[in-house]
């Protein structure tokens, strides 16, 4: 209706009722004195309803005296009246302001650290390095020197190719790119021996450069020199070279498994019970009293950080404990069964080491005891051995 309705609302206005016989005169005087009236409505010949600004109301009273009208306030509207109303509720306002302040101040802290991009490096190690440089939960955002943290991480870890820290809301995200550990490269023009890196029996030695010190069938232990990085000629003196060559050897991998003939096996019954507790920083409140009613159970703990919106983490954690009941059953195995299980377990353990290599032989040794058997599985594998080792002269 009124073009500056909102402005009037902010200033505050009153609904008035004017009663009298000279209402037209009253309106005209208001007009000449520049008092803005709006929403004028004549109820009957002597009654007028209108709206007027709060500050102009005193002037209206004087005009009313002149024109012999009665004036009454019917209602008050606007911001000044709202403020006056809430002035009585000081505690409410104080708490409201306090809440706003708390949220603003809390948003200045880091409440959560995430690490992205790591597959081999444990999170804890990076968090530990970061916390030494001042990036840990509960620290002021402004005090964190991300550049220094990045530098420190890169200095301490040589298996990280790139580090970036992004602070999003109350979240610090450490992004890392892992690097493969670089092998020690010995230059071609440097002198080196080839030494054995494991215990083995040599099956084949072919030296491209250097002097082979072992023959076929020789047993070498870890650290023995296989191809020496020097050459001795009849006419020349001892000459150092960069040893090169291929060595094939038999290597044994073994694994021993102890299998009980009588064994207790865990089996979940499917019964579950969940309990919750709340954690503020380091202060934990348990929301439950009793311990679970199961006799035997596994406990699974899951933490959940509370957050406002999408990235404003609060320093409150919700911890859920899930108790899973299990039953213990006793299984009695025969010797044959036990042997089979032991062999299977040992093979899966060794599978990683022998994969892709030529298997020459497989041995299974069984040792029977009173109530258990020991199964030893030995794989004989032929593979290339030998690593370069620099000669210090």
């Amino acid at each position: 209706m009124n073009s500056n309705n909102l402005l009037q609302y902010i200033k505050g206005y009153v609904h008035i009722v004017v009663e009298g016989y000279y209402i037209e005169r009253f309106i005209n005087i208001c007009n000449t004195k520049n008092i803005l009236l709006w929403n004028l409505k004549k109820e009957n010949s002597i009654l007028l309803r209108a709206c007027v600004e709060v500050t102009k109301f005193k002037e209206l009273k004087e005009i009313c005296k002149k024109t012999k009208c009665k004036i009454k306030i019917e209602g008050k509207k606007g911001v000044p009246f709202v403020i006056r109303k809430y002035k009585k509720r000081k505690f409410f306002i104080a708490l409201f302001l306090f809440m706003v302040l708390v949220i603003i101040s809390l948003s200045n802290f880091i409440w959560n650290i995430d690490i992205e991009g790591n597959t081999n490096i444990p999170k804890d190690e990076i968090i530990f390095i970061a916390s030494k440089q001042g990036l840990s939960t509960g620290k002021l955002k402004g005090k964190i020197d991300t550049k220094q943290v990045i530098n420190q991480i890169r200095l301490e870890r040589d298996d990280i190719a790139w580090v970036g820290i992004e602070i999003k809301g109350t979240n610090a995200i450490i992004k890392i790119v892992e690097a493969d550990k670089k092998p020690e490269i010995i230059n071609e023009d440097e002198y080196c021996n080839i030494i054995s890196d494991r215990d083995a029996v040599i099956t084949k030695v072919s030296a491209k450069n250097g002097t082979p010190l072992v023959k076929e069938g020789d047993v070498v232990t870890k650290g023995d020199i296989i191809i020496a990085g020097w050459m001795e000629g009849k006419y020349t003196e001892t000459r150092y070279v960069h040893a090169q060559g291929e060595i094939q050897a038999k290597v044994w991998y073994s694994s021993t498994q102890k299998i009980g003939l009588k064994e207790t096996v865990k089996q979940e019954t499917g019964n579950e019970e969940s309990k919750y507790s709340v954690k503020f920083n380091n202060f934990q409140i348990n929301l439950h009293k009793s311990v679970p009613k199961f006799e035997k159970y596994d406990t699974i703990e899951t933490n959940k950080k509370l957050k406002l919106f999408s990235n404003f983490y609060l320093p409150i954690e919700l911890i859920e404990y899930t108790y899973k009941e299990y039953q213990e059953t006793i299984v009695i195995r025969s010797q044959e069964e036990a042997k089979k299980i032991g062999e299977e377990r040992a093979t899966t353990e060794l599978l990683d080491k022998i994969q892709g290599k030529e298997i020459l032989d497989k041995q299974v040794k069984v040792k029977s005891e009173n109530d258990f058997i020991e199964v030893e599985v030995i794989y004989e594998v032929e593979e290339n051995i030998g690593i370069e080792n620099k000669i210090e002269i």
Binding site: M1, N2, E24, N31, W38, N39, L40, K41, K42
Partner: protein
Amino acid sequence: MKRKSRKLDEILEIPVELSTNTPKVTVVGFERLLIENYRGILEYQEYFVRVNTYIGIININGFNLQLEEMTSDDLLVTGKIDSIDFETITDDEDT
């Protein structure tokens, strides 16, 4: 003097309601009526508004008439307007 300035206004194409005290009456739909350049209100009832201007009187008949906005220059009358009529004052009477 008056004639000269009128000619100048004509050349500059200044609207009449700005150069003189002529009222401008705008009717929007059948329920809103805006009067610019008015002098004052002579009579105001729910069914009848009588507005004084520099060249005459404007009478508005209707129901539920409301003076929605009132400044020293403009007057916005809303409500169900039935008829508008004008009473012209001759120059002799005015002065």
